[in-house]
């Protein structure tokens, strides 16, 4: 399989979207699931797809060190190329790595002004200008509306969109809009929300907001061993 074919296997396209870029500049997307269900794996797949399309991705991890994030990328990339039988895997990986920048913070040390300062460092020196940002481990349980508003403004100004992972808890009852209670307070800021639901030995993918219309006809699933989307095509 060639690189171009691999791009067409983007999780978003598999979910039924017509394009890879469903979020506009300043747009927010969220992947909601309980711990260990596959949120990071899914956002890393979105990130790898953007890198294959030569788009810079800034991956911000608030819980994991750089090394662990790198391992996620190694693992997911290996699973993808093996699944789709891609030739010259090492060369392709080397080709996409420059489109990735990992930043890790401690949750308590992360704030929008700090991120803005770091980003300015990167962009002014021409080191890295992101087109997409992933924030893994954002503390939605705190009062975060102000921070999210600031992030949205920053994303619009600098021309990128942001994907978040949101951890749901087993004991939390969903709010009336179907979102986890913490997240429901800020759900209006999000354009797309995807939920991963463990069902028996499978993980179902459900669109809670902004999904393609035909998505619920044949629900998508994550392969539990590779955490890749199951491709029925």
């Amino acid at each position: 399989m060639l690189k171009q074919d691999l791009i067409m296997k983007n999780p978003l396209r598999l979910m039924g979207h017509q394009t890879d870029d469903i979020l506009c500049d300043g747009g927010f997307g969220a992947v909601i699931a309980r711990a260990g269900v596959g949120k990071t794996a899914l956002v890393v797949q979105l990130s790898i797809n953007a890198q294959l399309r030569k788009q810079n991705v800034l991956h911000i991890a608030l819980k994991d060190p750089v090394k662990k994030v790198c391992l996620w990328y190694d693992e997911v990339f290996r699973n993808i190329v093996e699944h789709y039988n891609v030739s010259d895997q090492d060369k392709l990986y080397e080709e996409i790595i420059p489109y990735r920048f990992i930043m890790t913070f401690r949750v308590e040390g992360f704030s929008v002004p700090v991120l803005e300062e770091r980003l300015t460092d990167l962009m002014e020196q021409g080191i890295f200008v992101p087109k997409m940002i992933i924030i893994d481990g954002f503390p939605f349980h705190d009062d975060v509306r102000t921070s999210l508003d600031e992030l949205k403004t920053m994303a619009k100004t600098h021309g990128f969109h942001i994907w978040f992972t949101v951890t749901a808890h087993r004991h939390d009852m969903p709010a009336t809009n179907g979102f986890p209670p913490d997240f429901s307070q800020v759900a209006d800021l999000f354009d797309t929300v995807i939920q991963l639901l463990p069902e028996g030995k499978e993980i179902l993918i459900k669109s809670l907001k902004g999904g393609p219309e035909n998505m619920d006809d044949s629900p998508l699933r994550l392969n539990t061993s590779t955490l890749l989307l199951v491709d029925h095509s």
Partner: protein
């Protein structure tokens, strides 16, 4: 000497193998590990005075035995020493802290059963601690941690424990609480015995136990609960005792030990070696929690059984298996540090060096205490000692004549940097040859050879500092007057596409003729340096000439036609050819292969590959942007940044060619507050514009040589 000998014999007869600990002390540079070792030796009465590492009194710490180490305040060569504590015998290897000497650390870890990871309570888990930790993981060395320098401004052992968990993934658990920090650091609270320990006397040699200060009781109780919770995960007995409220100190220690041995728990001790606080409890920890040789499963490879792994048993009566892990040149000849894994090594024994199958007669056996020695008669399994006057290389295995085992070979990376050296006079030439011979025997990552085109002597190694230190050692220890050239990067060549060849080597104009035709193709491969495949059918090339063809191609791999750098990653497929009944010979086909390679190589889109280093910079956050800028200017690809409160860690991949002089630049652009480590990561293709520049330079140099 006789008195010492008698004492040693008496003690070794008394010592049970269960009471032996072979440990290493590993850490980031400047974490204070040499000071800690010095204090350990003092409290175990191996030395009777304490000296500073940086040698204010002109003596220097005992373990830093080389002059250069004393001057730089870093440990370069691992000196081995032993001491006794609470009826336990502890062999200590003081390991180097700089990544350029990683092979020393790796070799030390190979012979150790356990290790103490020393961390600075201010600097915390630094980049070198991460490298050392990875090495410990590779060799599955159980470890305990010591958070040192609690007397320093900014000391925060709690933060270091968190970093151990977050950055190194250790299940770190505090064994102690500090009583005061920074200037008020007075002692520690032992969470197992729930007592406060203070260290009295001029050198902290008297341990005074007192009740826990009132203001620390609540915190100590809480931390003890955490300790018991963590330990009880590995012991049902402790879990039951916790439920029934019948916990004993022995139960806690035994559970923690069990978890430590399988690397599931890292007990953390705290103190300040420099201020003589917390060292004796750490020694207790070493004896109580780290493994004895019996706890560790060591394996060798049986050369008679196609290198099948065989388990070694710490039985003094079994055939000998011993590993020479460190060589040192002393005033009386070569000293080879050795660990016996199985059997007994005795004075007068005849043993075999597996590498060259030579018989060796064991002369003097000694036990080292840094650079002082004690003579002994035997080294039993699990023990570390040294042999005198035996010619061997480091990493050699010695065995009895009945077996043919070798210890697992260690991973030795290829050198990435080289430089030319030339002696200034005849005497220096002789001494330089001696020094190079010794260094390359001692350190497998240090190589030396003569460039047959320029006649220059080249040394190569793992980094600029690595080579600098050997040049300095030649100057100081061997009094060599030499001139060193600029460092050169070890580039490589490879091809990027398949190309066909069909080449005739023909010389039939007079005298003995030569004829050979070879045809086939070359193509890139990623996982092997060279593959040769013979697909010739129907005797187009007679079978007896095929090896000559292979030899011809192999010869071309040594120096690429593009720039004379070594060529890697090529598969040669030979599928046709022709021969002459009289004029074909091995020589003719070898020449045909060489001619074919030279002809086809340029059609296969050759490129240059350069070594890429993993560079980790630790810097105060305010300089993060500046540091990233310096890396970016040097063609560095920043992999990631990690914010750690006031400090931040930047990880990047940078071509080695761009790293010369980086330490000076980093110092000047961060007010000396940042530091970096560098290790080889991979080889990667040089960008076109840089490759053109390299080609131009090399061609100029070649012209100059010609």
């Amino acid at each position: 000497m006789n008195k010492i000998l008698a004492e040693v014999k008496k003690k070794s007869m008394k010592t049970d193998i269960k009471h032996v600990r072979n440990i290493g002390i590993s850490a980031h540079i400047d974490s204070g590990k040499t000071t800690l070792t010095e204090r350990i030796l003092f409290y175990t009465k191996r030395i009777h005075a304490i000296h500073d590492v940086r040698g204010k009194d002109g003596v220097g710490a005992t373990m830093d035995s080389m002059e250069l180490e004393k001057e730089r305040g870093i440990t370069i060569a691992s000196a081995a020493t032993y001491c006794q504590w609470q009826n336990h015998e502890i062999n200590i290897i003081d390991t180097p802290g700089h990544v350029d000497f990683t092979i020393e650390v790796e070799r030390a870890l190979r012979v150790l059963d356990g290790a103490v990871l020393v961390l600075c309570s201010v600097g915390g888990v630094q980049s070198q601690s991460i490298t050392v930790d990875q090495q410990m993981k590779r060799y599955k060395v159980p470890c305990i941690a010591f958070v040192n320098k609690c007397d320093r401004v900014g000391a925060n052992p709690d933060r270091v424990i968190r970093q151990l968990r977050d950055r190194l993934g250790h299940n770190a658990i505090a064994m102690q609480l500090p009583i005061g920090l920074e200037a008020n650091h007075e002692g520690v609270v032992d969470l197992v015995s729930m007592t406060a320990c203070y260290f009295d006397g001029p050198n902290g040699e008297i341990v005074r136990e007192e009740p826990i200060p009132d203001d620390l009781i609540d915190l100590a109780t809480e931390k003890r609960e955490e300790l018991i919770d963590a330990a009880s995960m590995f012991s049902d007995d402790l879990m039951e005792a916790a439920l029934e409220d019948t916990i004993t100190e022995d139960l806690i220690i035994s559970a923690i030990r069990k978890a430590t041995l399988i690397r599931e728990l890292t007990p953390v001790f705290i103190g300040s070696a420099y201020k003589n606080k917390g060292v004796q409890p750490l020694l207790d920890g070493i004896t109580q929690l780290l493994p004895c040789p019996l706890d560790i499963q060591n394996e060798a490879l049986d050369l008679d059984q196609d290198e099948t792994p065989v388990s070694l048993v710490s039985d003094p009566d079994k055939p000998l298996v011993a590993l020479a892990f460190k060589l040192e040149e002393g005033p009386y000849g070569q000293l080879s540090y050795i660990r016996v894994y199985q059997g007994t090594l005795s004075k007068g024994d005849t043993i075999i060096n597996v590498r060259n199958e030579k018989k060796v007669k064991v002369g003097r056996l000694i036990r080292m205490h840094a650079n002082q020695m004690e003579e002994i008669d035997t080294i039993r399994p699990g023990y570390i000692g040294a042999l005198f006057g035996i010619d061997c290389a480091s990493g050699d295995t010695f065995v009895d004549r009945d077996i043919n085992y070798t210890m697992t070979s260690m991973y030795v990376p290829d050198p990435v940097i080289s430089l030319a050296i030339s002696p200034n006079d005849h005497q220096s030439e002789i001494s330089m040859a001696k020094a190079l011979n010794r260094f390359s025997k001692e350190d497998p990552t240090f190589k030396t050879y003569v460039n047959d085109e320029t006649g220059e002597t080249l040394i190569s190694g793992m980094g600029e500092l690595h080579l600098d230190v050997y040049i300095e050692r030649m100057r100081r220890e061997y009094k060599v007057a030499l001139t060193a050239g600029a460092p050169k990067v070890a580039y490589r060549e490879t091809i990027t596409k398949r190309a066909d060849f069909n080449y005739i080597h023909k010389k039939q104009t007079g005298g003995a003729g030569q004829f050979g035709r070879v045809a086939g193709y070359i193509e890139p491969v990623s996982d092997e340096p060279f593959i040769f495949e013979n697909q010739v059918t129907g005797g187009a090339i007679p079978t007896q000439f095929i090896p000559a063809c292979q030899k011809g191609f192999e010869k071309c791999m040594e120096k690429g036609p593009l720039l004379r750098f070594p060529v890697t990653g090529i598969k040669v497929v030979l599928n046709d050819g022709a021969s002459h009944s009289v004029d074909s010979s091995e020589m003719a086909f070898q020449a045909a292969a060489v001619g074919a390679f030279k002809e086809v190589y340029h059609k296969a889109a050759p490129v240059i590959h350069e070594p890429i280093m993993k560079v980790v910079v630790e810097t105060p956050t305010e300089f993060q942007g500046t540091v990233m800028g310096t890396l970016n200017q040097r063609r560095g690809m920043i992999v990631g940044t990690q914010d750690e409160g006031p400090m931040c860690v930047i990880e990047a991949q940078v071509p080695l060619a761009e790293m010369f002089g980086y330490s000076t630049l980093l110092r000047s652009s961060t007010q000396g507050k940042a530091q970096f480590t560098m290790e080889f990561a991979t080889y990667r293709q040089v960008p076109k514009n840089i490759a053109d520049e390299i080609i131009r330079k090399v061609q100029e140099e070649n012209k100059h040589v010609a």
